[in-house]
């Protein structure tokens, strides 16, 4: 393992400190329990809190700021944060209209946030993101993971919350965006958790993992490495089938296409993937009118990518386009 780190146990705190320092105009960091909030506490709005294991940067702390999150609770690398973090964060950002938790659907995250919510002295609601369509033949929503689509949910719900909308309205929009969003990832290499010191999985020079999770969880299948177009074709197919299974018609719809890097994939390749994916989706009658290409939900140092398609409607479009000012997403201000 070759990483820019000092002691393995200090990675998280040192990285969080660097983040807070680099963005001291935007955020404040609290250590022990660890949580990050907006520098300027918002007032009279639903407070949006997200969180999860670390190692997916810029998720979630990079999305704290006007128009998006109020706070984020970073766990250890790939490990859900704990209820005390969520309670302290909620205490810090609560602004009279309740707390909305946006949680990626993993058993650990769900249970920890649930336990926090149960003892929270404020009204709260939860949006569970579950956009990863890698997992097929499973009737258990527990098996469906939240991945890069979470960024779109956080952006849209964050936008709505700024308007003063109430908790239920924020939750409803979040659930809708999640429902209309589907993702799939592919890995060329494993990631290496600092504390583990070696790659999470072995993968040879001519293999890829189709449907990989953002923690290096195995996906649909191990496949032979092939041309980008062929890989992207399968990913697009998986997403289209997922929308069909959800009974969401895709032809003649507008969509947002997010081509996400998992950490070690060069932007040059991400744009090449975007080129292939956008063409394939449009061949299926989908009009890509919004795009995002870059490292938005990573898996440490994994070489890989994920595609996320979000079917737009006027409401989602409006909230996607509205101003945002976070460390990792900024426009309109």
């Amino acid at each position: 393992m070759k990483k820019f780190i000092n002691k393995v146990d200090d990675v998280l705190v040192e990285s969080l400190s660097g983040f807070a320092l680099a963005h001291s105009d935007l955020v404040s960091l609290n250590l022990d329990p660890n949580f990050i909030t907006r520098k300027q506490k918002a007032t009279n709005k639903v407070a949006i809190i997200s969180g999860g294991g670390s190692g997916h940067e810029p998720l979630h702390a990079g999305y704290i700021g006007y128009g998006m999150l109020d706070a984020a609770c970073p766990g250890h690398v790939f490990t859900s944060p704990t209820p005390d973090q969520m309670l302290a964060a909620a205490e810090a950002v609560h602004a009279e209209k309740g707390i909305l938790f946006i949680i990626k659907n993993y058993a650990g995250d769900v249970m920890n946030f649930e336990m926090a919510a149960e003892i929270l002295p404020f009204e709260s609601a939860t949006v569970l993101t579950s956009d990863d369509c890698a997992v097929v033949n499973s009737t258990y929503t527990t098996g469906r993971r939240g991945v890069a689509g979470t960024v779109i949910v956080e952006k849209c719900v964050g936008s709505l919350a700024e308007t003063g909308a109430d908790l239920q309205a924020c939750k409803t929009l979040g659930d809708k965006v999640n429902q209309r969003t589907s993702s799939i990832g592919v890995a060329l290499t494993s990631c290496t958790v600092p504390a583990a010191g070696r790659p999470t999985f072995d993968i040879s020079e001519n293999e890829l993992e189709m449907g990989v999770g953002i923690h290096g969880e195995p996906g649909r299948r191990r496949e032979t490495m092939r041309e980008a177009d062929a890989i992207v074709q399968d990913m697009v197919q998986a997403i289209l089938e997922d929308f069909a299974a959800k009974n969401l018609a895709t032809p003649n719809t507008e969509a947002l296409l997010l081509v996400n890097g998992l950490g070690a994939t060069p932007l040059m390749e991400l744009y090449l993937i975007y080129n292939a994916a956008a063409r394939l989706f449009s061949e299926h009658g989908i009009k890509i009118t919004r795009s995002l290409v870059g490292n938005y939900t990573t898996a440490l140092d994994m070489a890989g990518t994920s595609l996320t398609l979000c079917l737009l409607d006027d409401e989602i479009k409006q909230h996607w386009d509205s101003p945002v000012h976070a460390a990792a997403l900024r426009w309109g201000m």
């Binding site: 329990p33 294991g53 766990g75 250890h76 690398v77 790939f78 490990t79 859900s80 944060p81 704990t82 209820p83 005390d84 993993y106 058993a107 650990g108 249970m111 920890n112 649930e114 336990m115 990863d132 890698a134 997992v135 097929v136 033949n137 499973s138 258990y140 527990t142 098996g143 469906r144 993971r145 958790v193 504390a195 583990a196 999470t200 999985f201 999770g213 923690h215 290096g216 969880e217 195995p218 996906g219 299948r221």
Partner: protein, 207 residues
Amino acid sequence: MNSSFIVTATTAIQNTILQHESELESLDRAIGDGDHYINMKRGAQTIVEMQQELATLAPDVALNKIGMKLLSTIGGASGPLLASFFMGMAKIIKEKGDTSTATYASAFSAGVDTIRQRGKADIGEKTMLDVLIPVATQFTAMAAQNASPKEISTALKKTAEQGMLSTKDLIATKGRAAGLGERAIGHIDPGAKSCQLMIEAVCNLIE
């Protein structure tokens, strides 16, 4: 069970976790995200650091404290589940107020039930419950039959081992491996393994 037993048990648990580093790591690497050993190590470490304080507390208070501490230390799926176990157990011991084997058996069962409720899972889903549920059932039955601590511990170790091994051929329907379908087959569930190890370590103290 008194608090000094709890203290001894925390050391035994830490030892067995540390001794099985590579096994626990490989299991979670194969069908999870590779952090189960790290999570368990972190949890055990924190509890061992509390030993001085734990020794001064009543058993139910100590167990509850352990649960609270695990909750804010482990994270992941195993954190709230193990925390639930200790808090569920503490509640029964406090209620019953005695130190009979039957009380411990029903406390253990209550702990397992709390896990079940928290995780919305049951036996056969390739989780730690495949170890914990059979062990709880047998513990309760043997306590009712007034079996000796020694007999009980010998039996529970075996049951735990069987439960752990049973996860190997299962498809996971809860937890991180739930996405794997057929690919999970052939791998033992890491949480089941660590629970089996902890049960074994504690049973070994009762000879």
